[in-house]
């Protein structure tokens, strides 16, 4: 990437609790988000994808590692020092019900963002709220309603309007469509694509659904048990996955095509607990290629192509999917 990155994380690590209940949520994760770029974080439970999103937003304190936003290190900033930064990065949540205060009217839910940073008062405030509602495809006349008067998809739009109110440079979208029905999910995905195009904001898009990630993202980071398995341009990772986990994940995600080939290697066993991740390569306990060497050291990132890297010591079969 030629642009200076908007977000750059280096060696990011987050552990929760104390031994013996120490959870290794995120271990040594590094990647960048360029201005206007959509980066997808994909992984299963325990992969640490939501934790990474919250670390970047500094809703959580990192255990180790560096987080730079627009060239400035923010990993150690205090709550007060972070306040001005809140204008520049926002979050869209998974649950369209629990993410809106049921006791507030829509205009106050969105208006709170404007108030917190003194962005608009009086008639200007009402006008902005109306505009924001229209931007996300809602009727400006509904500003006086309460969240329960809206459907799930409409609530998700309200949550998006709240995030947009401060005109952020980065939105972290944590599973923004996984609680929605397919027909409504498509509406919200198209809306997010539209907004991104119009405003040029960057997005960190977190999802367990590879189809959604493939649709939305420029680049993908594949995570397993808190570590990066593979990272690269969407097209590359989805068409020419190099890490055996990425390959398995792609093979396991159900294709809406009854004629798709069914002969696939299923991953055996369960995802290990992040309380005691395997030594060496964390994927080795389920990996079809695992050998003794895999238990030794954490595999270093290898280059597979321009911008395309993976963490595996094997020469994985270059499967074309």
């Amino acid at each position: 990437m030629s642009d200076a990155p908007l977000v750059s994380i280096r060696g990011l690590t987050k552990r929760f609790g104390k031994a013996p209940a120490l959870v290794h949520a995120v271990e040594d994760v590094s990647f960048e988000i360029a201005p206007g770029e959509v980066v997808g974080l994909v992984g299963e439970s325990g992969s640490g994808k939501s934790t990474i999103g919250r670390l970047i937003l500094r809703a959580l304190d990192p255990t180790a590692g560096a987080i730079a936003f627009d060239g400035r290190e923010i990993g150690g900033l205090s709550r007060r020092e972070l306040r001005p930064l809140r204008r520049r990065m926002q979050m869209v949540f998974q649950d369209p019900f629990a993410s809106l205060n049921p006791r507030l009217r829509v205009k106050d839910i969105i208006g709170e963002a404007l108030d917190a940073h003194g962005l608009a008062q009086g008639p200007e405030r009402s006008k902005r709220i109306g505009e924001l509602l229209e931007t996300v495809g809602l009727d400006a006349g509904h500003a006086g309603r309460f969240p329960h008067e809206f459907s799930g998809g409409q609530r998700q739009r309200i949550g998006i309007a709240r995030a947009l109110a401060v005109r952020p440079d980065l939105i972290v979208a944590d599973e923004p469509v996984s609680a929605l029905d397919v027909s409504v999910q498509a509406q919200v995905l198209n809306l997010l694509q539209d907004l991104r195009r119009r405003s040029g904001m960057a997005m960190l898009f977190i999802s367990h659904d590879l189809d959604v990630i493939e649709l939305m993202c420029d680049r993908i980071v594949v995570l397993y048990l808190g570590r990066v398995m593979e990272i690269g341009p969407t097209e590359e990772v989805c068409r020419r996955p190099r890490h055996p986990y990425t390959q398995a994940l792609l093979a396991a995600s159900p294709k809406p095509d009854p004629d798709a080939p069914r002969t696939r290697k299923l991953l055996q066993g369960d995802i290990p607990s992040p309380l005691s991740p395997p030594s060496g390569c964390v994927f080795r306990t389920r990996c079809p290629l695992a050998k003794e060497d895999c238990a030794g050291a954490v595999p270093a990132m290898r280059t597979a192509g321009p911008d395309h890297r993976f963490a595996c010591i094997h020469e994985a079969p270059k499967s074309e999917t």
Binding site: L82, R83, A98
Partner: protein, 282 residues
């Protein structure tokens, strides 16, 4: 209509009817207390030595006490003190309990300190703690309120803390934090507004307990001075005549039971109506 549907319907109707009954009784008691000078047939303190311990009759519906005072009038006036003390206890314990509960639930550092004290206080029987406090503070209406407020604050604190712990983890609170909303506003608009219903329900129950406790304290002589008519002091001073003149204790006792019962019914009704899950079913 088949039997199952009819039963379901009756169940719900009966539930609602009881709540309605509670609300009406409560309203009557409260109005009577407020409008005491207008309704009471006699003065609550007017003694007539010739009319001592008269049974209920057309002139004295609830009879007269050992000084010839009209029991009905004393109950109506006594409601002012009993309900007034109850109300004051509710307001004071709500204010203190809600503040402490919010702080304990939201700030980890305060939680241990506040909850240790709360647990210690709750391990003592209510009435013993109240007697002890009144004994220390001195017997007066104001001190009874203070003592009972101290006794019930831990209950409120615990309820509010519990709800706060749940609400503070909800995504809309995280959203507010990420928007840079100030902590006082998060505590009030985002948390307090969403824990208001359990607090309200708790308030009606504490009102009922406080009315009972005030009567208990007065009965034991650890409450308001006997010359102030409250339902508790009426029973306390009438108890030695109870074998000859049951009405001097029966009617004040009935007033206490009705007030406490109606408050509990209203509390139950409020809880059902404020619970969104149950509201849908109703």
């Amino acid at each position: 209509m088949d039997p199952a549907a009819a039963k379901l319907f009756l169940d719900r109707l009966f539930r609602r009817k009881l709540v309605l009954f509670g609300a009406v009784v409560l309203l009557v008691i409260v109005i009577a207390a407020i409008a005491a000078p207008l309704i009471a047939p006699y003065s609550p303190t007017g003694m007539r030595v010739t009319q001592r311990l008269r049974p209920p009759s057309a002139t004295n519906w609830f009879g007269t006490d050992e000084f010839g005072r009209d029991v009905l009038s004393r109950i109506i006036y006594g409601g002012r003190a009993s309900l007034g003390i109850g109300m004051a206890v509710v307001l004071a314990s709500m204010l203190a309990g809600t503040t402490l509960g919010l702080l304990a639930g939201y700030f980890r550092a305060l939680d241990t300190v506040i909850m240790r004290i709360v647990d210690a206080m709750m391990s003592l029987p209510d009435i013993l703690l109240a007697i002890f406090l009144v004994a220390v503070l001195g017997a007066s209406a104001g001190n009874v309120v203070l003592a009972l407020a101290i006794v019930y604050t831990p209950r409120v604190t615990r309820v509010v803390r519990g709800s706060t712990l749940v609400v503070r983890e909800l995504p809309f609170v995280e959203a507010a934090r990420l928007l840079g909303v100030s902590t006082p506003r998060i505590l009030t608009v985002h948390i307090l507004l969403n824990v208001a219903s359990p607090i309200l329900v708790q308030a009606t129950f504490i009102f009922a307990y406080a009315v009972l406790a005030e009567a208990g304290l007065s009965f034991l002589g650890a409450g308001v001075p006997p010359d102030v008519p409250t339902w508790g002091t009426m029973i306390a001073s009438g108890q030695q005549y109870a074998d000859r003149a049951f009405w001097v204790v029966f009617f004040p006792g009935l007033a206490i039971v009705l007030a406490a019962l109606s408050l509990q019914l209203v509390g139950d009704g409020l809880r059902d109506m404020l619970d969104p899950k149950l509201r849908k079913a109703l």
